[in-house]
């Protein structure tokens, strides 16, 4: 998802007997759905894992501005331009809410940004794919945000209060994203033959990257148990992926487009769609930095931050001068 393959900072799930009194009390709260708040006692590993997860989630929102931002200046109508700009602006807002949640754990936003820029933190694999035609913008809103929503709706119940509240606010704003995306791709799918071709191309290219967003299969997902016990993660990767596929296949069919995977078939017995596994070697390559856009995405983010340093410093220096003058006048 927006937070993929978060390494849990723990040696494994402890049994109740192995826990200290404090740890047991903490686990009881989580089991009883009592939220953990910033000043409450929490195991160091819980704090570290959360910082990593929320930080990666925040980074994903901010890097996620880039592929869609790529089309703001080329949006085909004034209304589409406004919608896309408002949508990408929301992503910046979501990044901001999430960094704020991480800050309640004692990690500053600037520090998290530094770790990202030094390559020591990651963001979701999906944003390392390019947006190549206008239909991609519809597909990103519909498929990528659609996949994110599946995960984020589940995460509204996460155990850490500030993270959960950020998720609730984000989900409320996010429902507009998927709808505007589907609306845009509908126009393309039902448009001229050239527009339909673009829509098909978008679905074909983005389908597998979208279902990779949920992370490796449960069998290969080594970090999940502790995170599930702590309710940092609420549903398994495969569960969420299946949920996404089930809700999305009929939406592709409605558009009259070809399914992007010949193995997508309704399985009566399971009550779910069957589908092919994505190419996991591609996924691990993208995570490692070898996706089509990894280098450019980081270059853009680092440039924005570095080029903006004089602005941040300048405005702060002015505020400090003003404050000093006020004190002197009193």
């Amino acid at each position: 998802m927006y937070a993929q393959m978060i390494k849990t900072a723990s040696a494994g799930v402890k049994s109740r007997e192995e826990m200290t009194d404090q740890e047991r009390e903490f686990q009881d709260k989580i089991d009883n759905d009592i939220k953990i708040e910033p000043r409450d006692w929490m195991p160091d590993d819980y704090r570290r894992t959360l910082i990593r997860q929320i930080g990666q989630h925040a980074h994903s929102e901010v890097v996620g501005q880039l592929p869609e931002g790529n089309w703001i200046t080329r949006a085909p109508t004034l209304e589409r331009k406004a919608i896309l700009l408002a949508k990408v602006q929301d992503e910046a807002g979501h990044g901001l809410y999430l960094y704020s949640a991480a800050e309640t754990l004692g990690e500053s936003r600037d520090e998290l940004v530094r770790l990202l820029h030094e390559g020591r933190m990651k963001y979701s694999s999906i944003f390392n794919y390019p947006t190549l035609n206008w239909a991609d913008i519809g597909a990103v809103g519909w498929l990528v945000d659609g996949a994110a929503i599946v995960n984020q709706v589940a995460l509204q119940r996460t155990s850490y209060g500030p993270y959960s509240r950020a998720m609730i606010r984000i989900c409320k704003e996010e429902s507009f994203h998927a709808r505007q995306g589907y609306h845009a791709i509908m126009k393309m799918a039902f448009g001229t033959p050239e527009q339909t071709r673009q829509a098909q191309s978008a679905v074909d290219r983005l389908w597998f990257p979208a279902i990779m967003m949920f992370g490796p299969t449960d069998a290969d997902s080594t970090n999940s148990d502790q995170s599930m016990a702590w309710k940092i993660k609420v549903k398994s990767n495969d569960e969420l992926r299946q949920q996404f596929v089930d809700q999305t296949v009929p939406q592709i069919e409605y558009l009259g487009l070809d399914l992007p995977d010949p193995n997508i078939k309704w399985n009566e017995e399971r009550g779910h769609y069957d589908f092919s596994d994505p190419d996991w070697s591609e996924f691990f390559n993208v995570i490692k930095g070898n996706g089509p856009c990894n280098v450019d995405r980081m270059k853009d983010r680092v440039a924005a931050w570095d080029d903006g340093e004089w602005v941040r410093d300048g405005l702060l220096a002015h505020a400090q001068k003003k404050a000093a003058a006020k004190v002197a006048a009193e």
């Binding site: 704020s100 500053s108 936003r109 405005l315």
Partner: protein, 94 residues
């Protein structure tokens, strides 16, 4: 980092007649810019009619460990709640 803008807690009155409610936080060089940033970040969907900002470091809070002594003693004072008292129906609404 030494040049990080201070962190501000943002409180917004959603509608006339309601209290200000904590909605989140953001960074700004000073209070005036914090208010403007809050307007741009937290009222994009028409969510506010008034904004308060407080620099995060100025907020004092109760310690989680004091929850017992602070809040539990009031649990037993149930006579403070109107439902404690049975009033005959004939008396009418009270």
């Amino acid at each position: 980092m030494k040049n990080e803008w201070p962190l501000w807690e943002i409180f917004i009155r959603g509608q006339h007649g309601m209290s200000h409610r904590h909605v989140g936080s953001l960074h700004a060089p000073d209070a005036e810019m914090a208010i403007k940033n809050a307007r741009d970040v937290y009222t994009r969907r028409n969510e506010g009619v008034s904004i308060w900002v407080v620099e995060a470091k100025h907020i004092s809070a109760t310690a989680p460990g004091d929850k017992g002594p602070l809040f539990e003693p009031s649990e037993s004072k149930i006579y403070r709640h109107p439902t404690f008292f049975d009033i005959p129906e004939e008396v009418g609404s009270m």
